[in-house]
């Protein structure tokens, strides 16, 4: 009975892992990159200069800019520069008839000169962030698919713990250079050692989308009026309407100071001004997510924009909201200091590696049966193609995305869309290549290609901008330098992986036979 249960779990782990493994690999890798979203954006928009932070100056500059360029907008949004993202970003929404949503316009303003920065049009790190839960699909579908993948991941984790029951006994075991056995060891090691992270990241992703996945509790408490739930959760959406009587907007700086005093010196993340220039203008000042682990969407201070009068202070979460906010905060890691951010990144890579090794093992086990005849059935061939394209192909696509950012001319129409196109074209080509080239050869060629693309990023940056490593390191611009160095490091690692696979390829027949023998011995 017990053995039967474990076998059933192993079956579920194997097949669920295979079907969703390719998608989960992409979600995990792009999500891991999203931990450095701001740093990637900084690299992809090198025109945005970093200045010493001065919130009052930035705020005055932003207000003056918006007053001049968008006095009649329905809403203004101001995001202050911080140590990770040097850009002062302003956004406004055009005023339209009631019931319609106006277009958003976003600009990056230099916080010293007050001029709009002519930065190249690029999605930057936001692309990876959006992709990891929207999957470049039309609105609800991508979110549903990624949430489904998260549920499957949770199932795979739990069945995995049951299947590989020896993981806690063999906690410190990793035996390299032993073929299939090493893959299993590696899969178990990254699985169990980083298990708290895997469980946290998977469960919290479900918590983040819980109102979409399980709306029943909301409907039960709020009836058909689900808006009431959201305006209670996100009080910033509940603002006074415009009266149509013009009145000048007060300076935002004193409101900023008052808001920070409310939070005992906490940082301001974003400001929203509703109906600027109206007698009923309201200013919502939101606390930065980097202040605390638990995210509190209600943590904001609201002012009347025309009089400067403090209207309300939001925040103070109920226990369930605090738990939900904690999961949200833990998943996003906004609060992480640079060291902790790197640890998050490494954990994310470990998760990616766990999925990747699982996929490789699935195929490796089944390939052994056909090693002697040398003829692989169609379905194994398909899995092999998808393995290559989903792993090394994705790395090539990421490299292509960065290259497109530097090589497309700044004046190119719909430039940021073309960067994304380059990503998917490269990914598609790698799928084609994987279908044409067999097995190890496909791996080696794609890994080498990815190594070349990523390893040459510092060179590319040096040729196309004036922010090469010498400059960025000397100036202490760690986001820029760190990006170059990380790409270089990944390039070297991928080159090493490709070289390793090449070395293994030459004496393949004997190695393969020895591997088969080893495995049969272990199976006994």
């Amino acid at each position: 009975m017990k053995e039967g249960f474990r076998q059933a779990m192993a079956w579920l782990h194997t097949w669920v892992g295979l079907i969703f493994g390719w998608l989960l690999f992409a979600i995990f890798l792009t999500g891991t990159l999203a931990y450095f979203k701001d740093e990637i954006t900084h690299w992809m928009q090198p025109e945005v200069q970093a200045h010493p932070l001065d919130d009052a100056r930035s705020l005055t500059v932003a207000q003056a800019y918006l007053q001049q360029h968008a006095p009649d907008a329905a809403r203004w949004f101001i995001t202050l520069p911080n140590s990770r993202d040097p850009g002062l970003s302003v956004m406004w929404q055009d005023k339209l008839d009631p019931g319609k949503r106006g277009n958003f316009v976003q600009k990056v303003v230099d916080p010293v000169s007050g001029e709009a920065v002519l930065a190249r049009d690029s999605k930057g790190g936001e692309f990876f962030y959006r992709f990891h839960f929207q999957l470049q699909m039309p609105h609800p579908w991508g979110r549903w698919l990624s949430t489904l993948a998260a549920m499957v991941m949770f199932v795979a984790l739990i069945t995995g713990i049951i299947t590989h029951k020896k993981i806690f006994k063999d906690f410190f075991t990793f035996r390299p250079r032993k073929g299939q056995r090493s893959w299993l060891d590696g899969h178990n090691a990254v699985g169990v050692l980083v298990l708290p992270f895997h469980l946290m990241i998977t469960y919290s992703s479900l918590v983040i989308f819980m109102s979409m996945v399980m709306p029943a509790p909301i409907m039960a408490s709020y009836g058909a009026d689900t808006r009431a739930f959201f305006s209670e959760m996100f009080p910033a959406t509940d603002n006074a309407p415009a009266l149509g009587q013009p009145a000048p907007l007060q300076s935002l700086v004193p409101m900023y100071t008052q808001a920070r005093a409310q939070w005992a010196g906490g940082q301001v993340g974003r400001l929203a001004v509703n109906n600027p220039g109206d007698v009923n203008a309201s200013v919502n000042i939101f606390r930065a997510g980097s202040d605390r682990v638990a995210q509190d969407f209600g943590s904001m201070v609201s002012f009347n924009g025309a009089t400067g009068e403090l209207l309300r202070v939001g925040g103070g979460q109920s226990l369930p909201a605090l738990i939900g906010g904690t999961f949200y905060g833990l998943h996003m890691g906004h609060f992480a200091t640079p060291v902790l951010r790197w640890l998050y990144f490494i954990c994310g890579l470990a998760g990616t590696a766990m999925i990747g090794t699982g996929l490789v093992m699935w195929l490796g086990k089944r390939q052994l049966k056909h090693a002697r005849t040398g003829v692989m059935p169609y379905e194994l061939r398909l899995v092999e193609t998808l393995n290559i394209a989903s792993m090394s192909g994705l790395l090539i696509a990421i490299g292509a995305f960065f290259w497109a950012n530097r090589l497309l001319p700044a004046s190119f129409a719909e430039r940021s869309d073309w960067e994304v196109q380059a990503f998917f074209i490269a990914w598609g080509l790698s799928l084609l290549h994987a279908a044409l080239r067999r097995g190890r050869r496909g791996w080696i060629e794609q890994l080498s290609c990815a190594a070349l693309l990523l390893g040459a990023v510092p060179l590319l940056n040096a040729i196309t901008t004036e922010q090469h490593l010498g400059v960025s390191l000397a100036r202490g611009d760690w986001a820029m330098a760190g990006f170059d160095l990380t790409c270089l490091g990944s390039g070297v690692f991928l080159a090493w992986a490709a070289w390793k696979m090449r070395c293994r390829m030459a004496p393949q027949p004997t190695a393969e036979r020895a591997l088969g023998l080893n495995l049969t011995r272990e199976a006994r």
């Binding site: 906690f171 410190f172 050692l193 992270f197 682990v293 904690t326 902790l340 470990a350």
Partner: protein
Amino acid sequence: MLLALLLCYAGFTALCLSTDRHHGELLRSKPSPQRRLGWRASGWLLLLGSIWPAVAVAGWSQGLVEWCAVLMLSALLLVLLLPYLPRLALSLAGAGLLASPVAAFVTL
């Protein structure tokens, strides 16, 4: 975070030495039952003790998150080092323990 890292790494190394297989690989001998118990107890004590410096520096919420991160990463580092550079893995733990009073002095 450094002190917590040093303690976690040493703690995991001690736990690793409490198993017959790894004790044999690293120290080329089979541990006596008392030895094994000693390694195990000191390993758990070090791991539990490492919570305190993490929380003392960064507060409970941030500190616990940092401690979890350090816990996972130190184990990952140890397991990756063991097959390739076992001597380094072992001496790192010793050096870490020796350096921990210095780290405590600097950070706390």
